[in-house]
C-alpha cells in the first residue's frame, strides 16, 4: 500500500513547506497554517489507511515494500498491524496540541520550529511502520536530531545540558542496538547464507540461548533508555523539564512510546524465549520504576519535573504488562501507553501554560490559581485525576489490566505495583492542592500586574477533545483492546500489488 510511505513523506514535505513559507517574512502565521494543514492531511490519510486496510485477512493490515540497498539485503519495507495503527493514531492526535498550542511560546522563526516538529513526527511514523531492521534504525536515529535542535532552540534555562544529555543517552543506546541488529543479521547469514534485514526473515533465525539473550539485551537497553526503565532514566527529568511545551508533549506523549513499541515488536516478538527468561528481571525493573518514580514525584517542587517523574512511574506499568507474558498484560500495556500519552501530554500543556503565565514552574510560588484561572485549573484537576488512575479514564483500564496480568505471574510484584498507585494518588492530589487550591501565593495575588489570562476557546477545545478521548478509552476500551495485540513475527503478511 503506497499510503504507508506517504505517512512519512507527508509530514516531511509539510515541514519543508512550512519552513519555506516562513522565509517570505511578511506572513509569519502562514507557516502555522501549513503545519496545521499538514497534520490535518495526515489525519485524513490515516483515516483512509484505516478504512482501506486489509481487515479480516490475518493480523497484518497493510504492507509496502520497495528495494533500497539490495546489495546488503536492505529494503524499504513497512507493515502495519493493529498495534502500529493505534500508535499512529496516538501520534497524529497528539500532533494537534503540539502545533496548535505552541504558537504562543515559539516566538521567532516558527518555520524552523514547524520543520523540526514535523520531521520528528515523520521519523516517529517511520519507527511505527518499518519492518526492515535497517530502515527501523534509520528512522530511530532520524527522529532524534530534530528533537535535539528543538530542545536546544526553544528550551528553558538549562537547555544545553538537557539537550546533549538526551542525545548522548539515546544515541549511545541506539549504537548498542545497532550492534545487536547486525549481530542478528550476521548470525542469520551464517545459518542461511543470506544477508537480509527483513524482520520476518530474521525472526526465524535459529539462535543459541546465550546468543539470543545477548542480542535481546542489546535491543532491550536501547528501548529501556527510551521508555524509560529505572536505572537508565536519568536523562528524562532534565530533558522533559527543559524542553519547550511542544517538545515535552512530543517526548512524553509519543517518543517514549517508541520504547514501549520497540519492546513489544523487537524484544518480545523477535526473541520470545530470551524475553521469557528475562521477564523476572524486567518485572522487577518495572516495579522499581513505579515505586522510584512515584517516590521522587512526591519530593518535587518543579511542576514539570514532577510530571516527568510520574511518567517514569506510569511507564513502569507498561514494562510490567509487556513482560507479564499474557495477552491481557500486553493489551493493558498498550492502553496504558495511549492513556499516558494523552494525559501526560495534556499535563505538560498545562504546566507549560502556567510557566508561560507565571514565569515559574515552582509550585512553592503558585497556589490559589483556581480563582484567577478557573478553566486552566479545572482542566488541570481533570488530567491529574486521570493520571492517578481514577476508574472511568483510560489510565485505569491500562493499570488494572497490567496489574491483573502481573498478579497471575507474581503476586508480590502486583502488590508492590499497587503501592505505586497509592503514591500516585498522593502526588497528583498534592500537585493539585499546591498549585490550584489553597491560599494565593503572596507574590502573585496582591498585584500590580494584571491577572494572567485564562485558557481561551482554542486551548479548551483541544484539551476538551483530549478529555473526551480519555473518557472514551476508559469507558469503552474494546476497540483499542482488539487492535492492540501485536501481530506475531512469523505471520508473514500477504504481499499485495506488483511488489514481491
Amino acid at each position: 500500500m503506497i499510503a504507508l510511505p506517504a505517512l512519512i513523506l507527508l509530514p516531511a514535505a509539510g515541514g519543508l513547506a512550512a519552513w519555506l513559507s516562513d522565509r517570505s517574512r511578511q506572513a509569519s502565521s502562514l507557516s502555522w497554517w501549513v503545519a496545521i494543514t499538514t497534520i490535518l492531511l495526515q489525519a485524513l490519510l490515516l483515516l483512509v489507511i484505516t478504512r482501506t486496510a486489509d481487515w479480516g485477512h490475518g493480523p497484518w493490515l497493510a504492507h509496502f515494500s520497495a528495494p533500497w540497498i539490495p546489495a546488503l539485503g536492505i529494503a524499504a519495507r513497512m507493515d502495519m498491524d493493529g498495534l502500529s495503527l493505534v500508535m499512529l493514531w496516538l501520534t497524529t492526535l497528539l500532533s494537534f496540541p503540539c502545533v496548535i498550542l505552541s504558537a504562543r511560546d515559539v516566538g521567532e522563526r516558527p518555520g524552523l520550529f514547524n520543520l523540526l516538529l514535523l520531521a520528528t513526527i515523520a521519523g516517529i511514523n517511520g519507527v511505527f511502520l518499518a519492518t526492515d531492521l535497517f530502515l527501523f534504525f534509520f528512522f530511530w536515529e532520524l527522529m532524534l536530531v530534530p528533537m535535539y535542535v528543538l530542545i536546544l532552540q526553544w528550551g528553558h534555562e538549562d537547555r544545553r545540558r538537557a539537550a546533549i544529555k538526551f542525545f548522548l543517552f539515546t544515541q549511545g543506546s541506539g549504537l548498542l542496538m545497532l550492534v545487536a541488529i547486525l549481530g542478528l543479521v550476521i548470525l542469520h547469514q551464517h545459518a542461511t547464507g543470506i544477508v537480509t534485514f527483513d524482520y520476518f526473515a530474521l525472526a526465524d533465525t535459529p539462535l543459541m540461548p546465550t546468543a539470543a539473550m545477548v542480542l535481546m539485551l542489546g535491543f532491550f537497553i536501547a528501548f529501556a533508555v527510551k521508555l524509560p526503565v529505572v536505572p537508565l532514566h536519568v536523562w528524562l527529568p532534565d530533558t522533559h523539564t527543559q524542553a519547550p511545551t511542544a517538545g515535552s508533549v512530543l517526548l512524553a506523549g509519543i517518543l517514549l512510546k517508541t520504547g514501549g513499541y520497540g519492546l513489544i515488536r523487537f524484544v518480545v516478538l523477535l526473541f520470545p524465549e530470551a524475553a521469557t527468561r528475562f521477564a523476572p528481571v524486567a518485572l522487577a525493573l518495572g516495579v522499581a520504576g513505579i515505586l522510584y518514580g512515584a517516590w521522587l514525584s512526591l519530593a518535587q517542587d518543579d511542576m514539570k519535573r514532577l510530571i516527568a517523574y510520574s511518567s517514569v512511574s506510569h511507564l513502569g506499568f507498561v514494562l510490567l504488562g509487556i513482560f507479564s507474558g499474557s495477552p491481557m498484560g500486553m493489551r493493558g500495556a498498550v492502553v496504558q501507553m495511549v492513556a499516558h500519552g494523552l494525559s501526560t501530554g495534556a499535563l505538560f500543556v498545562i504546566a507549560g501554560s502556567l510557566q508561560d503565565r507565571l514565569h515559574t514552574r515552582d509550585m512553592r510560588r503558585m497556589g490559589g490559581l483556581w480563582q484567577a484561572l478557573p478553566h486552566l485549573s479545572s482542566v488541570g484537576l481533570f488530567f491529574a485525576i486521570a493520571s492517578l488512575g481514577l476508574p472511568g479514564m483510560g489510565n485505569f483500564v491500562g493499570e488494572f489490566l497490567t496489574l491483573l496480568a502481573t498478579w497471575r505471574v507474581s503476586p508480590p510484584m502486583a502488590i508492590l505495583g499497587t503501592v505505586g498507585l497509592v503514591l500516585s494518588a498522593v502526588y497528583s492530589l498534592t500537585m493539585v492542592g499546591r498549585a490550584f487550591l489553597g491560599p494565593p501565593h503572596a507574590g502573585q495575588g496582591t498585584t500590580h500586574t494584571p491577572p494572567p489570562a485564562d485558557f481561551g476557546p482554542r486551548q479548551m477545545t483541544v484539551l476538551g477533545l483530549t478529555m473526551a478521548l480519555l473518557l472514551v478509552l476508559g469507558t469503552y476500551p474494546q476497540p483499542v483492546l482488539d487492535l492492540s495485540l501485536p501481530a506475531p513475527a512469523h505471520a508473514t503478511p500477504q504481499p499485495e500489488g506488483p511488489h514481491p
Partner: protein
C-alpha cells in the same frame, strides 16, 4: 621493459605530464588562473583514464611494480576528486594563490597515486617521499607566520624520522625474504619469526606516523593548525586515503583474524586511535585542531574495517573512505568559506549570519558523527557490519564508546552555530567556486546517505575480484565461537 611498464596505470604519466606542463607555463609567464586550469584539467584527464586499461595486466602482482586493480581504481578516483576539491578551496584564497601551490598539490597527488598503486617497496617509498616533500612546502606556505614555521619543522623532523623507520623496516623485510614485493613478510620463513616480526613492526610504525594513528599522532594537530586550510584538508583527506590504501595493500595476503603480533598491534592502535582522537578533539576550541582529532578517530574506525576481513571488510572501508573524504573536505571548505577565525567562538551564531553555510557545515558534522540521513551513518553501519561479521567484539565496544564522545563535540559545534550571533560584523565571503564546492559536497553527503546502493554496488564490483582479499575472505568462521548453532 615490458615487465617494468606492464601495469603502469595511465593516470601516472598523465599526472607527470601535467606537472611538466605546469612547470613550463609558469617558467614562461605566471598566472594563477592558468595554473589551476592546467592542474584541474590534469586531474580530470587522470580521472577519466582510470577507466581505460591501456596496457594489459596479467593479474598476478608478484614481480610487478604497480597493481592497477579495482582497489587502486577506487582509491585513485577518491584521491583525484579530493585533491581537485583542495584546489578549488585554494582558488583565490588569500595568501595561497600562486602557481607553485598547484604544482605542489599536483606533485603530492602523484605521490599519493603511486603509493596507492605500488606493488613494490621501492616504488611505494618513492611515492611516499614525493607526497611528504610536497607536503612540506605546502605546510610552510604562510612562511611569515611563526605557526607555519613551527608546523613545517615539526613535520620535517617527524616525517624524516618515520621515513627512516619505514625504510629500515623495508630493508629488514628484504633481508628476510629477498623480495621487494610490498607485502607483510610471512612469519613461517626459514629464519624464524624474529626478523619478519621486526620488519613488520618497523614498517607499521612508519606508516602509523604518517597516518597519524595514536600513539604516533602528536604532530597532526599542530601541523593542521599551522597549515593553510586547503593544505590541512589535503593532509586529512588525500594523504590519509593514500596511506590507508597502502596499509591495506601491505596486509593483503596476511590473515588478520589470526591473533598474531601484527594483528594485535593493529587492533591496539585502532582502539587507541578511536579514543585518543576523540578525546583529543573533545578538548579543542580550534576547529582545525578539532578536525585533526576527528580524523585520527576516523583512522581508528577504518582500522576496524581493515581488521575485519571477509565479504564486508574492504568494501566497508571503501565506502567509509568516500564518506569521510566528502564530509571532511566539505568541513574544511566551509571553514575556508566562512572567513572567520577557525574557532568555535567565531562560528557562534552562524545559523543567523550565514544560514546556508551553517547548514552545509551541520550536514558535514552530522555525517562525521554518523547520524542519518548523511552518508556517514550508512558508512559507520557498514563498518559495524564488517566488525560484527568478523566478531571483533573489543573493537566494536571501543567504536561505540568513542563514537559517543565524538557525538558530543560534533554536536557542540552545531549547538554553537545555533546560538544567537554575538554581533553582526560583515565578514568577507568565500569565492563562488568554494561555495559551489560546499554545496556539491553537502548534496552528495545527503543523497549518498539516502541512496547508498550505487556506492555499495560500485565498490563491490570494483573489489569483487580483488587480489587483496583472496585468502582471508575464504577462511571459514573462527571455531571458538559460541554465538551460533552449527
Amino acid at each position: 621493459m615490458t615487465t617494468l611498464l606492464s601495469g603502469l596505470p595511465p593516470s601516472l604519466p598523465i599526472l607527470g605530464g601535467g606537472i611538466a606542463l605546469l612547470l613550463l607555463c609558469s617558467a614562461w609567464r605566471r598566472s594563477e588562473a592558468r595554473a589551476i586550469l592546467i592542474a584541474l584539467a590534469t586531474l580530470l584527464l587522470a580521472f577519466a583514464s582510470l577507466w581505460w586499461p591501456l596496457l594489459p595486466w596479467p593479474g598476478d602482482p608478484t614481480g610487478m611494480l604497480f597493481v592497477p586493480d579495482g582497489w587502486f581504481t577506487y582509491i585513485a578516483a577518491l584521491i583525484l576528486l579530493s585533491s581537485a576539491a583542495t584546489m578549488i578551496m585554494a582558488w583565490r584564497e588569500t595568501g595561497t594563490s600562486s602557481d607553485e601551490f598547484y604544482l605542489l598539490l599536483l606533485l603530492g597527488t602523484l605521490g599519493a597515486l603511486v603509493m596507492a598503486g605500488s606493488a613494490d617497496m621501492v616504488i611505494f617509498f618513492l611515492g611516499l617521499e614525493t607526497l611528504s616533500l610536497s607536503l612540506l612546502g605546502l605546510i610552510a606556505w604562510h612562511r611569515t607566520h611563526p605557526t607555519a614555521d613551527e608546523a613545517a619543522i615539526k613535520y620535517l623532523i617527524l616525517a624524516g624520522l618515520s621515513s627512516a623507520t619505514l625504510l629500515f623496516g623495508l630493508a629488514l623485510s628484504y633481508a628476510d625474504s629477498g623480495s621487494l614485493h610490498f607485502a607483510a613478510p610471512s612469519l613461517e620463513g626459514p629464519e624464524g619469526p624474529a626478523l619478519p616480526l621486526a620488519a613488520t613492526a618497523l614498517v607499521l610504525t612508519g606508516l602509523f606516523f604518517k597516518l597519524s594513528a595514536v600513539p604516533f599522532h602528536t604532530w597532526l594537530p599542530d601541523v593542521m593548525e599551522g597549515a593553510p586550510i586547503p593544505v590541512a584538508s589535503f593532509i586529512a583527506v588525500t594523504s590519509k586515503i593514500a596511506l590507508f590504501a597502502a596499509l591495506a595493500r601491505y596486509f593483503a595476503g596476511a590473515d588478520l583474524l589470526r591473533p598474531d603480533a601484527a594483528g594485535t598491534e593493529l587492533a591496539i592502535v585502532a582502539v587507541l586511535s578511536m579514543f585518543g582522537g576523540n578525546l583529543l578533539a573533545l578538548g579543542q576550541s580550534n576547529l582545525k585542531r578539532l578536525l585533526a582529532g576527528s580524523s585520527i578517530a576516523h583512522v581508528g574506525y577504518l582500522l576496524l574495517a581493515l581488521l575485519s576481513p571477509g565479504p564486508f571488510g574492504l568494501t566497508s572501508a571503501a565506502v567509509y573512505l568516500a564518506a569521510y573524504a566528502a564530509a571532511t573536505s566539505g568541513a574544511f571548505a566551509a571553514l575556508g568559506g566562512a572567513s572567520v577565525p577557525a574557532d568555535i567562538a567565531g562560528w557562534r551564531g552562524m545559523f543567523r549570519r550565514r544560514p546556508a553555510l551553517a547548514l552545509a557545515m551541520a550536514i558535514m558534522l552530522i555525517s562525521l558523527a554518523g547520524i542519518p540521513p548523511a552518508i556517514g551513518f550508512f558508512a559507520k553501519t557498514y563498518i559495524v557490519i564488517a566488525g560484527v561479521s568478523a566478531r571483533r567484539i573489543v573493537l566494536l565496544v571501543a567504536l561505540v564508546a568513542s563514537s559517543i564522545i565524538g557525538l558530543y563535540y560534533y554536536l557542540n559545534i552545531v549547538r554553537a552555530m545555533m546560538e544567537p550571533a554575538p554581533e553582526v560584523h560583515r565578514a568577507a565571503r568565500g569565492t563562488p567556486a568554494n561555495a559551489g564546492l560546499i554545496a556539491i559536497l553537502a548534496i552528495i553527503t545527503v543523497l549518498a546517505g539516502l541512496f547508498p546502493e550505487t556506492l555499495v554496488r560500485q565498490t563491490r564490483s570494483l573489489l569483487q575480484p580483488a587480489p587483496i582479499m583472496r585468502e582471508a575472505s575464504l577462511r571459514p568462521a573462527a571455531p571458538h565461537d559460541i554465538l551460533y548453532r552449527e
